[in-house]
């Protein structure tokens, strides 16, 4: 099967392709979510160290992974958009940012609600938590910069620069925060590295990661469609859209 990629690189064709793909990814996400929650709550055994509180892992870890992964993907598309002047990739980057920021927030929130019963405190200035917080700041910076610029092309490019600067800085920030943490001998959090994780726990977590991934794709496609409509509202192909088109 050969796909004409250039055809789908045009916002108009992508709009229809995305419309066809969204239900597919939505169904996948729902199936994976139900399966993941079932495994997480009814198959995975009680952790002998943490009791039932560890079940937060099934949303915490997927959210944390997606938050970092989405930032890299966002910077990648923004960079492609900047380098090759392709509108669609920049729109994609803009569509990814809110979902990434949401997952960052969820990772922080669930981390706090997991930390309270486990370490006795809502917040620890641990390297991972601090980096996640800074990641949230980076997402917010990207989104507010794009929101503040009226001209969409300039917003795309300016956002791309700040996303790329951010992606270069993330490893530096992470390692400096880690160093800062060891230097101050802060609370060393080793709950995550429990000696052995039951297979059901691991499977449940991975299924939830896949669910979060599919959900992100569905939602990003939905948002990308919105952005395409917004920006291309003056073009003839949008005018030719039937009113019933979803």
């Amino acid at each position: 099967m050969s796909i004409n990629w250039y055809k789908y690189a045009a916002p108009s064709s992508f709009y229809f392709l995305a419309g066809k793909l969204i239900p597919f990814f939505t169904v996948l996400a729902v199936i994976l979510l139900v399966a993941g929650l079932y495994i997480g709550f009814f198959v995975a055994p009680t952790d002998f160290q943490q009791g039932e509180a560890y079940r937060i892992i099934f949303i915490h870890v997927p959210a944390a992974w997606m938050s970092m992964f989405l930032y890299v993907v966002m910077a990648f598309w923004a960079g492609i958009g900047l380098a090759f002047n392709t509108r669609l990739s920049s729109m994609f980057a803009t569509a990814i940012a809110p979902t990434g920021a949401l997952f960052t927030f969820i990772a922080l929130w669930t981390g706090a609600w997991w930390g309270k019963p486990m370490w006795g405190t809502w917040w620890v200035w641990d390297a991972r938590l601090t980096s996640e917080l800074i990641l949230l700041f980076l997402y917010i910076g990207f989104m507010s910069l794009q929101a503040a610029i009226d001209d969409p092309r300039r917003a795309d490019k300016a956002g791309a620069v700040i996303a790329l600067v951010g992606v270069v800085n993330i490893p530096i920030i992470y390692f400096s925060v880690q160093w800062w943490n060891t230097l101050h001998q802060g609370a060393s959090v080793s709950v995550m590295q429990s000696p052995k994780m039951a297979t059901a726990m691991l499977v449940g977590m991975l299924v939830m990661v896949l669910a979060a991934w599919m959900y992100s794709i569905a939602l990003i496609l939905l948002r990308a469609r919105n952005i395409i409509l917004e920006r291309e509202s003056h073009t003839s192909w949008v005018a030719e859209l039937k009113e019933t088109t979803r």
Partner: protein
């Protein structure tokens, strides 16, 4: 005219720095042990904020009177022009802080060695602030709410410099070695010296399209 504006900028930045640093004892209390412990962090955070304060004016004056457009079409490479802007920003808003910091450090009862480490760390660190900050200033040129936006964009990127700058002072106060901090700060300076003018020049072109 330009010199007078520069003078005003220097004074504003400097007084902002002094006021922020002097506010902390009033908020925290005059306990010298506590003040000595928080001094490196307070001085460094105040330096970050003070250096950021004047970022908005880095390109905007040239932008408004049209000089920036001429600079963009001039034959000399934009990279060097932007680098010149960054250097002048540091001379106006970085160097005065470096010179002022030891005096403010005395208020916090820092030892002589800690004071010299503080000054040296600021000397290496504040140019990085101007270099990275210029990217943010170039991106937000002519954007509504630009001043607040710059802080959102730039402050997260300043974090490694804050950590190692304040860390060096803390390490010296604790009697530990601080060579590693200085070599890392120096590495940051070299890397940002290479990449930041280039990124800021690209950002300027984007903003001026």
């Amino acid at each position: 005219m330009l010199a007078m504006r520069r003078q005003a900028d220097v004074l504003i930045t400097l007084f902002f720095f002094i006021i922020v640093v002097s506010l902390f004892p009033l908020g925290v209390g005059p306990e010298m042990n506590i003040l000595r412990a928080i001094a490196p962090g307070v001085l460094w955070v105040a330096a970050l904020l003070a250096s950021m304060l004047s970022l908005g004016r880095l390109f905007s004056i040239d932008y408004m009177d049209g000089t920036l457009e001429q600079l963009l079409i001039s034959p000399s490479p934009l990279f060097l022009l932007v680098l010149g802007k960054m250097v002048s920003h540091w001379l106006v808003s970085g160097l005065p802080l470096v010179l002022m910091a030891p005096i403010l450090g005395i208020q916090y009862d820092l030892s002589m060695e800690a004071l010299s480490v503080l000054t040296l760390s600021l000397l290496i660190g504040t140019p990085i602030l101007s270099l990275i900050g210029a990217i943010g200033a170039a991106l937000t040129l002519g954007v509504r709410g630009g001043g607040v936006l710059v802080s959102l964009l730039v402050l997260p990127l300043y974090i490694p410099i804050l950590i190692f700058g304040a860390g060096a002072v803390e390490a010296s106060a604790a009697g530990l070695g601080y060579d590693a901090h200085f070599s890392l700060l120096g590495a940051f300076l070299l890397v940002s010296l290479v990449f930041a003018p280039w990124a800021a020049a690209a950002s300027l072109r984007i903003s001026m399209e």
